[in-house]
Structure formats: C-alpha cells, structure tokens
C-alpha cells in the first residue's frame, strides 16, 4: 500500500488503506470485444463488421427505439459504438479508391446528394430499418450518418445534449460526444463523429429532403390537391 502524504491525519491512513485495497473491476464479458477485435478491414467490409458486432452482443441493440406514435428515439450509445467500429475499420485505406461508383451512390442515397466534397463516401450498411453511411475525413477519422424512418422524439433525447438551430435546421446535439440528431424530412438522422459547429454544411445536407423524398412529397401534394379539386369544382390536371 502506498502511504498517504505526511500532512495527513492518522485516520486518513485508515480510509486510504480501505480504498487502496479495493479490487479491480472487470468489464462485462464482451464489452471490450469490439475494441480488441482489430482485424484489418477496409471500407467495403463495414457491413460484415457490423454484423460481427451484433453477433458479439456489443451492438445487439438496433440503435433506435420506435414509439407508438411513430416517433424515433435514437439509442445514442449503440450508434456511437457502431460508428467507432466503422471508423476503426477504415484504417488507413483511401476510401475513394475502395468504393465503386455504385457503392458511392448508395452512400449518398442514404444521406442525400448535397454532402460536401470534404466528406468522402467510404461505406454503408443496413440492418433492419437502420441505414448507416460512413464518410472518410482523412487521417483515420470518419463520420457516420445513421438514418431511420420516423421523426425524432425531441423530448426523449436525454439531458446530455441540447436542442439548437444550425443554419436553419433544428437539431439536438451532444457536443461532448460529437453526436447530432437531425430531422431529415420524415426521417431521423444521427450524425456521429464530428462537432456540429464544424459540420453545418453536412447538417444542412442531411436535413434537406432527398430527391426521392421530394418526389414522394410532390406526389402526395398532387394527390391531395386532386382529391380537393373535385369537391370544390376546380379543374383537375390531365
């Protein structure tokens, strides 16, 4: 046992001794498995990696909780873990050399076409209804954008972050963990791995409706307009 300082009172040595004798605490089985599983993998294997994590039980959580009203509460710790695995698996690979054009399109299809060029598409994965797009920032750093159907339940985001507005988009951010929740049309997007203050352009790209969503909305509006036009006697488009 190491000795307490000479200025301490005798009773302090007793307390010190008790604490010094506390045993180490072991993590639950499997908790460190993802961290110590350092098989070299490149971006194209991210999906495999995510499946492996699920098998280990570390990331068995789907990553979102769906409420009865259809709103979504992201499980941020699970998503952060998934992001860590993806970032690690990128390693030193140049993502631009790894992904083919179809894969790049698939990544951008998850987030939208307006992603800034500094975010290099690096991989994607889908499990259940949760889609993950991974972007390479260089120097071994990456950003993940998780997207799932349903608007975010802002009231259930927890106290580790706060709601704010970034370039007109309402978001919830946990700056410490570099996690930002964004409503992307009718979807919820969670950006992991970048400070929201440094990612206003990415947030804007995520918040903007994707072309498919825009078309869907236009179809919806047209259909509603068509239903309304009849009863009110407006001419309907041919």
């Amino acid at each position: 046992m190491n000795a307490p300082g000479p200025e301490e009172e005798p009773w302090e040595a007793d307390v010190h001794g008790l604490l010094w004798d506390l045993p180490d605490v072991e993590p639950p089985p499997g908790f460190l498995a993802a961290a110590v599983d350092h098989r070299p993998m490149h971006a194209g294997r991210i999906f495999t990696s995510l499946v492996a994590i699920a098998v280990l039980g570390v990331g068995a959580t789907v990553g979102v909780a769906l409420a009865a009203d259809g709103t979504v509460t992201p499980e941020l710790d699970a998503l952060a873990r998934q992001h860590l695995v993806a970032e690690r698996d990128l390693g030193g690979d140049d993502a631009a050399d790894v992904l083919d054009s179809d894969a790049r399109d698939a990544v951008l299809g998850i987030v939208g076409p307006d992603v800034p060029d500094s975010y290099v598409p690096a991989g994607h994965a889908t499990r259940n209804e949760l889609r993950q797009a991974v972007f390479d920032l260089g120097a071994g750093e990456a950003v993940s954008v998780f997207v799932t159907a349903g608007a975010p339940d802002w009231d259930a985001m927890g106290s580790t972050g706060h709601r704010r507005e970034v370039d007109g988009a309402m978001v919830w951010s946990d700056d410490q963990r570099q996690i930002t929740v964004v409503q992307a049309g009718h979807d919820t997007a969670v950006i992991v791995g970048v400070d929201p203050d440094d990612a206003a352009d990415l947030i804007a790209a995520v918040a903007a409706p994707t072309p498919s969503a825009t078309e869907s909305m236009m179809d919806h509006i047209t259909a509603v307009a068509g239903r309304l036009a009849g009863p009110f006697g407006f001419p309907t488009a041919e």
Binding site: A3, E12, V15, L19, A35, L84, R177
Partner: protein, 184 residues
C-alpha cells in the same frame, strides 16, 4: 504535465506504464488498458452502465488524442481523460443548480468527533463503493485518484487542473465524509 511525467505510483502497479517511451495504437489502448479504464470508470461512476458509457466516450477521446500525445506517463494521460470526461458528463447531466463545495473543512468531520472507524466490520468493498458514489463528484475524483490509483497530490492537481490546495482539501474532505459514513 501528466502526459510526460514519470509514473506516479510509489508501489501501486495500477499506474505504472510498461514502456513509457512508446505510444500505443488505439487498438492497443483498448486491448491493454481497457480493464484499467473500466475499473477506474466504475470507481468514478459507481455502476456498470455508466462505466460502460464513460469508457466508450473515453475511447473516443483517446482515439482523437493519440496523434498529439507525447510519450510519457500513458496511464496518467488516460486517467486525466477519464476523470475529466467523467466530470464533464456529471456537469452536463446536472441541469439543476450545483451545490457549492463547502469552504469549511471542519464540516466534514461534524458529528463524528473522535469516532474510530470500525474498518473490519463492514461488508466491503461494495459498501465502500456505495459510500464512494455518494461523494460529490469532485471529491470522488480526487479520492479515487489518490487512494485507488495512488497518484501524488501534485499529479492530481495536474490531472484535474486545480490548485494543489484544492486537491488537498478535496481529498481530506472526501476521506472525512467516508470516515463519517463508515462510522455511522
């Protein structure tokens, strides 16, 4: 500077680095220091769920900080990240007004004048962990660094970035509260 200091422990293996001149990779950190991080995180948070969350966040910070790390006392560097991350989380979670730390050191020992701590009569260590978890986070961090990990006051002042006198008083008061709780 903790990141370049020598190992702080007088005889405690928990804070000695195997090779202080090399910088491990992030994978090696998780593999070689994961249990150290987890044990420290558990002593700070008092439960497994919060310990897991804390370790995850610490690993994120370590991942980003390794590029700028200068070889030295690596466990000291990890301890600094872990305790500061813990205190950051506590501050963010405590939206309610915080209770100011008492200025009067005698308050710690109020109600237990001359009481001897019946050390052997308790169901340690779980009971002790519960009492540790009841300490204010700032006291708890200082006491854990001093009495669980064996850091010197000077090193703790560096880790927590507070004056030496503050470290001394936090440890003294933290121990005093533990003593009172143990004796009650």
């Amino acid at each position: 500077m903790v990141g370049t200091a020598d190992s702080p422990a007088q005889d405690g293996p928990a804070v000695t680095d195997a090779d202080p001149t090399t910088v491990p990779t992030w994978e090696e950190v998780a593999e070689q220091y994961g249990r150290f991080l987890y044990s420290l995180a558990y002593r700070l948070t008092g439960n497994h769920q919060d310990a897991q969350d804390l370790v995850q966040e610490v690993l994120l910070r370590v991942r980003r900080g390794l590029a700028g790390y200068q070889p030295g006392n690596f466990k000291g560097w990890l301890s600094r990240i872990t305790t500061n991350t813990f205190l950051d989380r506590v501050r963010k979670q405590n939206r309610r007004p915080t209770v100011a730390l008492p200025e009067d050191p005698d308050r710690v020992l109020a109600g237990s004048p001359g009481a001897d701590v019946e050390l052997a009569a308790r169901d340690l260590p779980d009971h002790l962990q519960d009492l540790l978890s009841d300490l204010q986070p700032e006291y708890r961090a200082a006491v854990v660094l001093a009495d669980v990990l064996g850091y010197s006051y000077e090193e703790i002042a560096d880790i927590l970035d507070v004056p030496l006198g503050t470290v001394r008083s936090r440890i003294h008061r933290g121990r005093g509260r533990l003593r009172t709780a143990l004796a009650s």
